[in-house]
C-alpha cells in the first residue's frame, strides 16, 4: 500500500500523490513541468494560455499532442448529452462570474452557448474557431491531467501510485483503495463506499464552487447551472473518462452513457434519492 504522500496545489485545487517510496525531487519537478505545460495550453484563467489566445482571435490553432483524447472525449459526451455538456460554456461561466479574477459577480449579459458546429471544428490536431470561442475544459481537464501525471510517474519507473487531485482520483499498480462517497449536503458523511484498483473514480458536485445562488456545472443548452442532480460519481479505466462522465451524469440518461462507456456510476438527486449503475460493486448506505 503506497504511503508516503506528496501534497501540493495545482490548477486551483489541492493534490496528493501517494507512492510506495518517497517521490524523487526530480520526478516531482517533471510532474510540475507537465502540469505547467497543460495549464499553459488549456487554462482560461491565465492570459498567456492557448485557450486565452483563441478566445481573443478566431482562427486555426495547432494543439499539443495531448489534445486529441481530450477533444475526442468532449465530442463523445457532447453527443451523448444532446449538447448539454460542451467545451463552449466558457463565456457563459464568465458572464455568471466564474471568471479569471473569480469576480463571482454575475453580469446582466447572457450570451447563448453556441452549438459545436457553429463555433469550432477539430481535425485531430488543429482547432479552428469561427468566432472568439471561450473554451472551458473544466469538466474533464483535471481528470485528464491526473492521467498525464500518472504517465510521468510511469515514465520514471513509478508504476504503483495514487494520484488524487481532489475529486479526481486514479489508482495504478498494486493493491486497492477503499473510497468513501462524500455526501454533498454534509461533507462529514459518506453515502457509500467503493473499492477501486487500477482505475479512476471521479466525483462532481456543485457544493464547493457555488456563489450567488449559482454554481459551475452548466447545461450548455440553457447556459445555466443544473439543479436536478446534486452529486455524481463515475468509475472508469481513466480519470479523463471518469471526470467527463461525472459531469455528463448531471445531464444525460445514465443508461445511454453506460452503453457508450465502460463505467460504473452513482448519482444523487436533489430529492435526496440515489441512483446507481446495475453493476455497481460498492456499498451504498440505503
Amino acid at each position: 500500500m503506497p504511503s508516503p504522500s506528496k501534497r501540493f496545489d495545482a490548477i486551483g485545487a489541492p493534490w496528493q500523490i501517494d507512492t510506495a517510496d518517497p517521490l524523487d525531487p526530480e520526478v516531482f519537478a517533471a510532474i510540475q513541468r507537465r502540469i505547467e505545460q497543460f495549464d499553459r495550453t488549456y487554462s482560461r484563467f491565465r492570459d498567456d494560455s492557448l485557450v486565452s489566445r483563441i478566445a481573443r482571435t478566431p482562427g486555426s490553432y495547432p494543439f499539443p499532442p495531448d489534445a486529441p483524447p481530450l477533444f475526442e472525449l468532449y465530442r463523445r459526451l457532447y453527443d451523448a448529452t444532446a449538447g448539454a455538456m460542451s467545451p463552449l460554456v466558457g463565456r457563459a461561466l464568465e458572464e455568471l462570474g466564474y471568471d479569471r479574477t473569480y469576480s463571482l459577480q454575475p453580469t446582466a449579459t447572457r450570451t447563448r452557448v453556441p452549438d459545436w458546429h457553429e463555433a469550432i471544428s477539430w481535425n485531430g490536431s488543429e482547432l479552428t474557431t469561427l468566432t472568439p470561442a471561450v473554451l472551458d475544459v473544466g469538466a474533464a481537464g483535471k481528470g485528464y491531467l491526473v492521467d498525464l501525471v500518472a504517465e510521468v510517474l510511469a515514465e520514471h519507473g513509478v508504476r504503483s501510485a495514487t494520484v488524487d487531485a481532489s475529486g479526481d482520483l486514479l489508482h495504478r499498480g498494486d493493491g486497492e483503495l477503499r473510497v468513501a462517497l462524500e455526501h454533498p449536503l454534509d461533507t462529514s458523511k459518506a453515502i457509500g463506499v467503493v473499492t477501486v484498483s487500477n482505475e479512476a473514480i471521479c466525483a462532481s458536485a456543485p457544493n464547493r464552487r457555488a456563489w450567488a445562488g449559482l454554481h459551475h456545472i452548466l447545461d450548455a443548452r440553457t447556459g445555466l447551472p443544473t439543479d436536478r442532480i446534486i452529486a455524481t460519481w463515475a468509475i472508469a479505466p481513466t480519470a479523463l473518462e471518469a471526470d467527463g462522465l461525472a459531469t455528463a451524469l448531471f445531464f444525460a440518461d445514465p443508461a445511454s452513457l453506460a452503453e457508450e462507456f465502460d463505467c460504473q456510476w452513482v448519482r444523487m438527486l436533489s430529492t435526496g434519492r440515489v441512483e446507481h449503475s446495475p453493476g455497481f460493486t460498492g456499498e451504498l448506505f440505503l
Binding site: A190, A205, N207, R209
Partner: protein, 149 residues
C-alpha cells in the same frame, strides 16, 4: 387478471411497485440484479402463508398525473411463492413521468442514510474538488463586502 391499480394517483401506483421490489428483496432467489433496493417493510408471500400458482404474470397500472394518463406494465415471475423476475416498462411521455418511472424501472432509486466518514475505514474520500487559493479568497472577499454594507 386484476389490475394493480386503476386510475389511482401516481403515489398509489408507485407504492404498488415498491411492494413488488420489497417482495423480491425478501426472496432468496432473486435473479433480477437491478431490483432489490426497496425497503423491506412488507412481509414476503411465504411469511403471510399465502400460496400462489407458479407462472409469469403481467399487469398494467394506470394513473392520472398532472400531465394526463400514464401507464406502466409490470411483469413478474413466481416460483414457489418467490418472485424470481420482475420487469417494469414505463410509458410516460412527460419528463417528470419518465424520471420517476425510470427510477422505479431501474429499481435503483432509494433514500440514502449518510454515515460518518470518521467511522468508516477508508483510504480516500471522493467528493467535489476542494478549492484552493483564488476561489476561497474571492468568496471571503464577497462575504466581507456583504458584512460591510
Amino acid at each position: 387478471m386484476r389490475s394493480l391499480t386503476d386510475n389511482k394517483t401516481a403515489v398509489a401506483l408507485f407504492a404498488g411497485v415498491t411492494l413488488v421490489g420489497a417482495l423480491s428483496a425478501c426472496s432468496s432467489t432473486v435473479t433480477t440484479a437491478d431490483v432489490g433496493s426497496a425497503e423491506t417493510t412488507v412481509p414476503d408471500a411465504t411469511a403471510t402463508g399465502a400460496e400462489y400458482t407458479d407462472g409469469t404474470y403481467t399487469e398494467s397500472g394506470n394513473y392520472t398525473s398532472p400531465d394526463g394518463q400514464e401507464q406502466v406494465d409490470v411483469t413478474l415471475t413466481l416460483e414457489s411463492n418467490v418472485i424470481t423476475d420482475v420487469t417494469v416498462v414505463g410509458n410516460g411521455d412527460n419528463p417528470s413521468s419518465k424520471q420517476f418511472q425510470g427510477e422505479f424501472i431501474n429499481g435503483i432509486a432509494a433514500e440514502v442514510v449518510g454515515k460518518n466518514i470518521d467511522e468508516l475505514s477508508v483510504d480516500k474520500v471522493a467528493g467535489s474538488s476542494l478549492t484552493s487559493g483564488g476561489f476561497n479568497n474571492a468568496v471571503d472577499a464577497i462575504k466581507a463586502d456583504a458584512l460591510a454594507e
